[in-house]
Amino acid sequence: MKHTILIAAASLLLPVSAVAAPTPAAVMQHYADIAHATYSDALSTAKTLQSAVDQLIATPSEATLATARTAWVVARSPYQQTEAFRFGNAIVDDWEGKVNAWPLDEGLIDYVDPGYGSESDQNPYYAANVIANPTLTLSGRRIDASRIDKALLGSTLHEVDEIESNVATGYHAIEFLLWGQDLNGTGPGAGARPASDYDRAHCTGGNCDRRAAYLKAATDLLVDELGWMVAQWAPGGEARAAVTGGAPDAALATIFTGMGSLSYGELAGERMKLGLMLHDPEEEHDCFSDNTARSHFDDALGIRNVYTGTYTRIDGTRLSGPSLAELVAAQDPATDAALRGSLDQTLARMQALVDSTRNGEAYDQLIGEGNAAGNAKVQAAIDALLAQTRAIESAVGALGLERIAFEGSDSLDNPRAVGQ
């Protein structure tokens, strides 16, 4: 019964049996168009965040802080949908750490609760607190942080000492500066940084001017970086050229690689399963704002977008065009229907997490130890992602792209380059 509905729904969307499948070139052109539109929305919403941050710094109040937080949440949604472009497109994967590095040792940036601890054998900068310290002397190195600007954050501090948790820039650094630490463990509540942390006249937390400078520089950097990435996907851009200029099979495999790697190793594994196994809110993706469920939902939505060739823009405009789904359906309608069903199923499971958050039980509570029902909801979403990965693999097989999609990453000629 369920199958009948899925197939019926698929055939409503896709009367492909009668229509010729699109060319791979048309699919890739449209894929690049969706990338461009999604990054453009990420950029425009980040600019709104930038104005809100300027307002917060100019007139700190609970109202301007709330506006900035809302702007961050709105900006996060299109960005998360771009994550389906990350794996497979080297230009995106090499860059994404500048905007979405996670998890972070937030003690690098600002004051933290004593429960955070003061040192880590993994990271000498664990509690460096740049906002409070104009000069840092760590592991025999002296860093002049007297002037907090984009260069200090982006070039000097970000991933300093090759330690990935030294995250000085991007969405999560900004999130921490807007919300502060979530000290509620697996209980209800998000970070509760007061607006007075930015009030030079009645400063809480110390160094309000430096904190404001940090927030401003981090937000400006985010806007710069997103602007750069939009240009890469614009006509004549390098990312667009890479997927539209080369061999069609390799280009189609790029889409699958992005879908499968995000579904499996990254989202199901690194971001969801690990946190569930540790029952640790520190492992929650948007841990300061409690926006995690929404971020995971948007990742899953982005994966469906690139498969179905659709994207609903921030202004409500709907993009639709030649899709990978049509190519798969032309080869094997059942495989296409199964994959569509899997993608929808994952979104339904993610929606359950979003609904739970809205109803007062956020993601960090769902993964808490002893919360069997909550754990099961998260596990259901993970299981849906694993099923989706298998369905993506079948679709790869239907187009005969296994070798490029799964085995292309190992180089026989240049072994040292592998895994770096």
């Binding site: 499996y264 190793g265 029952h279 520190e282």
Partner: protein, 337 residues
């Protein structure tokens, strides 16, 4: 509970029938590799648990040494099955409860500290312990505890709660190892292996990837100045190199039992054997323990040579062996950050 398990086994037997009859390579893989490897883990884990119980009952330097010495064979037995990512080890998060590594966020230390400080006996009851944080349950936590100087302060008031945690970990490892050993002994166990060799292929490829990107690249860093010996697996107990040796030997066995019999191309078979031999030679050539070697200008080159040899082997597996067998690797669980 045990009776229920028997019923489930019986049900599996009845339903399975000839459907689950494994092909010859998978049968060999089960009987000659997986079953003995889990039996070894079960025996070594039982021995470790006994040593820990004796140590905590009568603490002393010799007893602590005995624990440390018994830890090595148990940990290496785990390394001999680490590549098996199908079947019962996938249930109840056992894979990660045996060992959470790499531990980029220092969760093991953080969660251990909290558990010891809370000193709540209820948190150590087997059922509750097994469903709590995976970080405190396995070899990573065990190793941190037995090499922590506090473990040798036998008269300290903090000693007893530490020893209780140590005993909980050893008991947890022992019971998981015993469960896996039992689960692989039922006749249908090899059904966990896909009938066509895919499971064996993925096991070999993923483990080689893990050696490269985690066991070698994490301590190597991008250059000598960024070498980080403490990012090596099991650096505290000096077992980093031996662990890789166990892994390579195990995947070679998987290849020989589960994949080579399916391979028609004898020349490729010889190339793969040569690549395994080259990787072993490179490992044997390491002049000092891995955590020190990555930070030593001369020895670092030997680690890089090992890396190149493993990389070459992995590329042969994915680009030559997989197509020759007509198998597909699928997405890799290690993809991502």
């Amino acid at each position: 509970m045990r009776r229920l398990a028997r019923l489930i086994h019986l049900a599996a037997l009845l339903c399975a029938g000839p459907l689950f009859a494994a092909d010859a390579p998978n049968q060999a893989l089960t009987v000659d590799h997986i079953q003995p490897a889990y039996a070894r883990l079960a025996a070594a884990s039982a021995a470790l648990r006994a040593r820990v119980d004796a140590f905590c009952a009568a603490p002393g330097g010799d007893a602590l040494n005995a624990v440390q010495h018994t830890h090595a064979p148990a940990f290496l037995a785990w390394q001999g099955v680490q590549h098996i990512r199908v079947g019962p080890v996938q249930l109840f998060m056992r894979e990660f409860r045996f060992q959470l590594w790499p531990d980029k966020r220092g969760s093991v230390g953080r969660h251990l500290q909290r558990l010891i400080a809370e000193a709540d006996p209820a948190a150590l009851a087997p059922q509750r312990f097994a469903t709590g944080s995976v970080a405190v349950q396995g070899f990573s936590a065990f190793e941190q505890l037995i090499h922590d100087p506090a473990m040798a302060r036998f008269d300290d008031p903090g000693f007893a709660p530490r020893c209780r945690v140590l005993r909980a970990i050893a008991a947890n490892l022992d019971s998981m190892a015993a469960e896996l050993d039992r689960a692989w002994r039922i006749p249908e166990a090899s059904a966990a292996l896909a009938g066509d060799g895919t499971a064996a292929l993925v096991a070999v490829h993923t483990q080689l990837e893990r050696i490269l990107t985690q066991k070698l690249d994490l301590p190597l860093g991008s250059d000598l100045a960024h070498a980080r010996g403490r990012r090596a697996e099991a650096w505290r107990s000096g077992l980093s190199r031996a662990a890789i040796g166990e892994n390579l030997a195990a995947v070679a066995t998987v290849y020989r039992l589960g994949l080579r019999p399916r391979l028609g191309d004898a020349a490729l078979g010889r190339e793969i054997e040569a690549a395994f031999a080259a990787a072993h030679t490179a490992l044997d050539a390491l002049a000092m323990p891995l955590p020190a070697a990555v930070a030593d200008p001369a020895a670092r080159a030997q680690v890089e040579a090992l890396r190149a040899a493993v990389s070459q082997l992995k590329a042969l597996v994915s680009q030559r062996l997989a197509p020759a067998l007509g198998l597909s690797l699928g997405f890799n669980s290690l993809d991502g950050d």
